[in-house]
Point group: C2
Chain length 280, copies 2
């Protein structure tokens, strides 16, 4: 998906909501557990109930890998459903935090972006920057595909290394600066946590035009208004993720309906933000 297509999704749906599919069997409504693939059925119901309100979906790989091969099958079915049921209408993110030496990152890129090999065809993958340029670049060789590089994450441990640095730049700022030599705002985004919204201002000084994937609104405590205040740019430039608040809005038979209600609430707040910012 191109940058222009993504912006069209945002202005068309009046939303910059990403729904995180961190699907946990212990939180799935009990009536689904009797089905052959409760994780996929749960995801399908959430997607069907929210596809017109969200612009992106982000399966979190850990929640599938913990069930081994069976979980990987649920993941594959989920991305296929996203591609087949709503073609061109959704931006799909493999939240996998991958990154390794060049010949290995090449294989991870095939896993995420080459359906003929892996059966999966995501638009984007989250990538960890620790191993540097040759660990990142193989993901950038697929036209129309994106990396979302970890810069400043939403968790407490972000402070351990991401703020480390010399007098001039912290590590996360160095990641933002250096990685612009590898890709462009047409194929690179950054993870920037909502729990440190005021720091989105510092990030915008280095990457004014890039899209930011912002986790941490909701269960982790971040505020959408604060994120917009510091992070919004002229193209929106934000994809804000919510996982638990939406997908576990109810644990009863009405889970999909309640996920829709919560998505409507967020989408309406986003619509106001986009109007106020002159984007729609």
């Amino acid at each position: 998906m191109t940058r222009a297509d993504l912006i069209n999704l945002i202005t068309g749906k009046k939303s910059f909501l990403c729904i995180g599919l961190d699907t946990d069997l212990t939180k799935v409504p009990s009536h689904l557990l009797a089905l052959e693939d409760p994780i996929f059925e749960f995801n399908k119901s959430i997607i069907d109930a929210t596809h017109d309100l969200a612009i992106a979906y982000k399966p979190n790989f850990a929640f599938y890998e913990c069930y081994g091969t069976k979980g990987w099958l649920s993941l594959t079915k989920t991305i296929r459903y996203l591609n087949d049921a709503y073609p061109g209408q959704l931006f799909t993110i493999a939240d996998a935090k991958r990154g390794d030496i060049g010949n290995t990152s090449q294989q991870y890129a095939r896993a995420m972006f080459d359906p003929a090999s892996s059966g999966m065809n995501f638009d984007a993958v989250t990538v960890a920057p620790y191993m540097g340029e040759d660990s990142v670049k193989p993901f950038l060789s697929y036209p129309g595909k994106w990396i979302i590089l970890l810069a400043l994450t939403s968790n407490k441990g972000a402070a351990d290394f991401q703020f480390y640095g010399n007098g001039n730049q912290k590590l996360f700022e160095q990641v933002l600066t250096k990685s612009q030599l590898w890709g462009s705002n047409e194929n690179t985004m950054y993870v920037a946590g909502a729990t440190r919204a005021e720091m989105l201002g510092d990030i915008r000084k280095i990457v004014p035009d890039h899209f930011l994937l912002v986790p941490g609104v909701g269960a982790q405590g971040g505020s959408l208004q604060e994120v917009a205040k510091y992070g919004l740019n002229r193209d929106c430039g934000l994809i804000v993720n919510s996982s638990r608040n939406i997908i576990y809005a109810s644990n009863g038979a009405d889970f999909a309906e309640k996920a829709r209600s919560e998505s409507i609430r967020i989408q309406q707040e986003m619509e106001q933000i986009l109007k106020k910012g002159g984007i729609i």
Copy 2:
């Protein structure tokens, strides 16, 4: 596996060789391709031919994930075979470079360490440190299991961020220093690339007693003698990985035999190093 058990493997086999199972279908001998699961059959043959010479095996997850669910099944069969065919005789490493916020790393830990959930039971997992303490600690809550934290990697891109820092410490040194507050030398190892062997001396100043997993000998150009010179400690303290040099020593019907010959060559060199170091 405990630290004492690992040291017993090393002194018993007179080896600190890890064989990397970066199994690539384009390099597997053609006679295997007709079988139902060529990747597993290849791995099984390599393991059977080398299990008395290597102390550890390290499947590289990317090479399985690129084939999607089918690849994940080959991976699961491989770790099961390592566990079942040679119980207690091999240290098994999930080379997966995982790491995410706490509740997500918990799920990755289940994937690697909880066979009742995922079907996989590795002894150790490689972990990326970028997201800090809460991304690492969930892996440490499994008794007898290990993390192998990325410190100084063997690739060119290592120089991009791992050397970044203030006047006192580079980032990789900060990772070594800070992570000692989270675990101990009984459950934590570090990745330290052989391509920068002389820097193993700097690493040993910070972690004199920890085990180091050393990739990069062989295809990437590192030297075993140099690694031993700077990295060996009184318990050996090294697990040296070789992948391509061993598993692709031949691409013919004699691939397992040739993998054994190459492993013998390396094991004999390691035996001399262990003798010279007074470890055996």
